[in-house]
């Protein structure tokens, strides 16, 4: 991996991260302790030898954060983002692993494309890149993609993200077939007939602005469908970027019955409401859309009570000229890798006190690792030394012009939060630290 070489000496000798608050949800640890690294792995304390020391006094030492929902835009859309720029943005957000969505050009529906992405990532990425494969050929929702070949090429999940299989029978067979490989199916929950050409939450603001509504029901119908299919197939389905209060209720009830269904949350869905679209700014247009305050409350409650187990960005970069058009012509999506952890920390831990810091870290480490069967998200001895140092008291303001991402389509320019990752370590090597 191409890395920042400023800290190359760390590779040579063992490293001790001292005096930090070590939070490792996978092992139920939360204590002031030292963490040892050697040869890219977490180790037991190393005797005598010359060591490199990182002082983490006042900092949190966490397993490297994992974002399971990222659009790297390669192959085919390198005017929006590249593997190199997206992973630098990821590192700057505290992420040591990202999971790439398959809606590239061509879509990631073949072993060849997965291999291409992995090889390019090996050369250019500064954090770990895991791939998802498409559920259907060309993400058209018509025929199954070759799951076996995708599995052998190393995908960690299957999804048609950006699209949603409308044919329930096809979805059933996809989930059933994926089970054979132990691959979770992730679904962007959207009923096309109900959503139509909707571009914002259907509510008071869509009526006021005359914009076509994207009702909650358009998501909830597919969440309900997925619950039924997960039960029928006894195989996991993960519902991507939950935006609606009704979806939270459905998931809560289904999980209580033991169904293998899960849901993830993006920061904008708890930070912003549909009122943000009042000025028709396409940097507030994403799919699913920003909703109402009651949805924010329901999602926060769902995170707090364990209904929603994963946090992610849905980092969706678009070039300025693509976004700076009439709002109904603009593509959906915003960037998020550099701001997501801070947004969630500020809202969930600092302001709302909905969850304690160790749970926030679990939602970004042990939980996604469990869903996707990754050997990451823990500080166990022997695990890859992917580590994020966090300053939970640091107040900072995001400047999109300083972003590492190739695209600047963020609604958070100028926002101030409390809490930030300040150093990102991948396999023992510092790939980013706050200047």
């Amino acid at each position: 991996m191409k890395r920042d070489r400023r800290h190359a000496e760390e590779e040579m000798k063992p490293t001790r991260i001292t005096n930090g608050r070590l939070i490792d949800p996978a092992n139920n640890r939360d204590e002031i302790a030292d963490l040892w690294i050697a040869n890219g792995k977490i180790t037991t304390p190393q005797p005598d030898a010359e060591i490199h020391t990182i002082d983490a006094t006042g900092l949190v030492v966490a397993p490297g954060l994992i974002d399971i929902h990222v659009h790297l835009r390669e192959p085919g859309q390198s005017h929006k983002e590249t593997i190199a720029t997206a992973t630098r943005a990821a590192a700057a957000g505290g992420f040591t692993s990202v999971v790439a969505m398959p809606n590239t050009s061509p879509s990631a529906d073949s072993a060849a494309t997965i291999t291409w992405i992995k090889e390019k990532a090996a050369r250019e990425a500064c954090v770990n890149v895991f791939c998802t494969g498409a559920l259907t050929k060309g993400i058209k929702g018509e025929e199954l993609a070759p799951f076996g070949a995708l599995f052998n090429a190393g995908v960690v999940a299957l999804t048609d993200d950006g699209h949603c299989i409308q044919n329930h029978e096809l979805m059933r067979r996809a989930v059933e077939y994926a089970r054979m490989f132990g691959l979770p199916v992730m679904d962007h929950c959207q009923d096309y007939a109900v959503v139509g050409d909707g571009i914002m939450h259907e509510g008071e603001w869509s009526l006021r602005l005359g914009l076509p509504g994207w009702p909650r029901t358009g998501e909830e119908l597919i969440v309900a469908r997925n619950i039924m299919l997960a039960e029928l197939c006894d195989s996991p389905i993960h519902c991507q970027h939950i935006s609606s209060s009704g979806s939270v209720r459905l998931l809560r009830e289904a999980r209580a019955r033991g169904i293998k269904i899960s849901g993830e949350v993006c920061p904008h869905h708890i930070a912003l409401t549909d009122a943000s679209l009042a000025a028709f700014d396409s940097n507030f247009k994403m799919n699913p859309p920003l909703r109402a305050q009651e949805d924010i409350e329901a999602i926060i409650e769902g995170i707090a009570d364990g209904t929603l187990t994963i946090l992610c960005s849905d980092h969706a970069p678009h070039a300025a000229y693509e976004k700076e058009v009439e709002i109904d012509h603009a593509p959906f999506g915003i960037t998020g890798l550099e701001t997501e952890f801070a947004t969630f920390h500020d809202i969930l831990v600092h302001k709302r006190k909905a969850i304690p810091l160790p749970r926030l870290i679990a939602l970004y480490t042990s939980e996604p690792a469990k869903l996707l069967n990754l050997d990451r998200g823990t500080l166990s001895v022997g695990a890859p030394a992917d580590i994020t140092l966090i300053d939970p008291t640091l107040e900072w303001t995001f400047d999109k012009n300083a972003s590492a991402s190739l695209s600047k389509n963020t609604p958070f320019h100028g926002h101030t939060w409390r809490g930030r990752a300040i150093r990102t370590v991948v396999a023992g090597e510092t790939v980013w630290s706050l200047a």
Binding site: L207, L209, G210, L211, V325, E326, H329
Partner: protein, 311 residues
């Protein structure tokens, strides 16, 4: 005249009551110009106005054109088929070109909600919204309000019913925003699919029976109903619409004698309005068209006639 400081008119939702009153009073002053033999004042002499219509329209474009000519502005008309938008140029680039041609005023008709605001934030030219998707059609809203105010001498306290396809109507939205700011009681009437109850969050009342409003309305404003091919899933057919919501002769007979019948045009005789009712003495449909010129003169003059554009 110190209440107006804006270079653009993007919608009535963004205006204060005082700003709306300013435009209405200015329109009143300009209305006399159209009644003279010499229908022209030099207020915008030397200014260039571009009618930039990305969505087809004849009456609104013509009304703006006449308004601009009466103010002595030079007028150019550009329609979507003639513009570079057909060749893939973005709206922003096309508009920047218009600005580079030193258009002082761009009157924009566009199918996208927010398109006027989008340009107003990016150009120095005055942007006048002549309809942006289902969002707003502020000069239509103003001319409706002007017509009502001229007849009643006030807006406050009047019972105004807007009937028809509200969901997709920019005319309805501009009327709602403007009328509410001036203190009217606004009731929306139509099928539950086109007039969802949620509209009440904007401060209006929603009714699904036209009978509920006939006796109490001071104004009924009928909106054009789109043909079935465009709104197939919203109501079963025009016949059923007429039977439930059409302003038929028996229904018109129940209106108060002072009640005004309005329609932004073009009317579908026999659909939202009975043919004879459209021509009745209570109908002010053509008066609205005449007032539209005075209102648009007021808007053009207020936005572009001020001191902020160098002479």
């Amino acid at each position: 005249m110190s209440t107006w400081t804006k270079k653009d008119l993007v919608g009535l939702d963004a205006l204060t009551a005082a700003e709306i009153i300013h435009l209405l009073d200015t329109a009143k002053a300009f209305k006399g110009v159209g009644e003279r033999n010499l229908k022209k004042v030099p207020a915008l002499r030397g200014k260039t106005l571009v009618n930039f219509f990305v969505e087809p329209s004849t009456r609104t474009r013509t009304s703006f054109e006449i308004a601009a000519m009466r103010l002595s502005a030079d007028v150019v008309n550009i329609s979507a088929t003639a513009s570079s938008l057909q060749k893939g140029e973005t709206l922003k680039d096309t508009a920047l070109n218009l600005q580079a041609l030193r258009a002082d005023i761009i009157v924009l008709r566009h199918s996208s909600p927010g398109s006027s605001q989008f340009l107003s934030e990016r150009l120095e030219s005055s942007i006048i919204n002549a309809g942006d998707g289902a969002h707003e059609h502020p000069t239509q809203g103003l001319l409706d309000i002007f017509t009502i105010r001229e007849r009643f001498g006030r807006i406050e306290g009047l019972n105004i019913a807007i009937i028809g396809d509200i969901l997709f109507s920019r005319v309805a939205r501009s009327n709602i925003f403007g009328l509410l700011k001036l203190g009217a009681n606004v009731t929306l009437v139509g099928p539950s699919t086109l007039v969802p109850k949620r509209f009440e969050q904007l401060g209006v009342q929603v009714r699904h029976r036209i009978d509920d409003i006939l006796e109490t309305a001071d104004v009924v404003n009928l909106l054009r109903i789109q043909h079935e091919r465009q709104r197939k899933e919203y109501f079963p057919g025009l016949g059923e619409y007429v039977s439930l919501f059409g302003l038929t002769k028996p229904r018109a007979a129940r209106l108060a004698p002072h009640c005004l019948i309005m329609h932004p045009g073009p009317i579908n005789r026999g659909v939202e309005i009975d043919s004879d009712v459209a021509d009745s003495t209570q109908s002010v449909i053509l008066e609205q068209v005449t007032n539209g010129i005075a209102v648009r003169m007021a808007v053009l003059y207020s936005c572009a006639g001020g001191a902020h554009i160098p002479a």
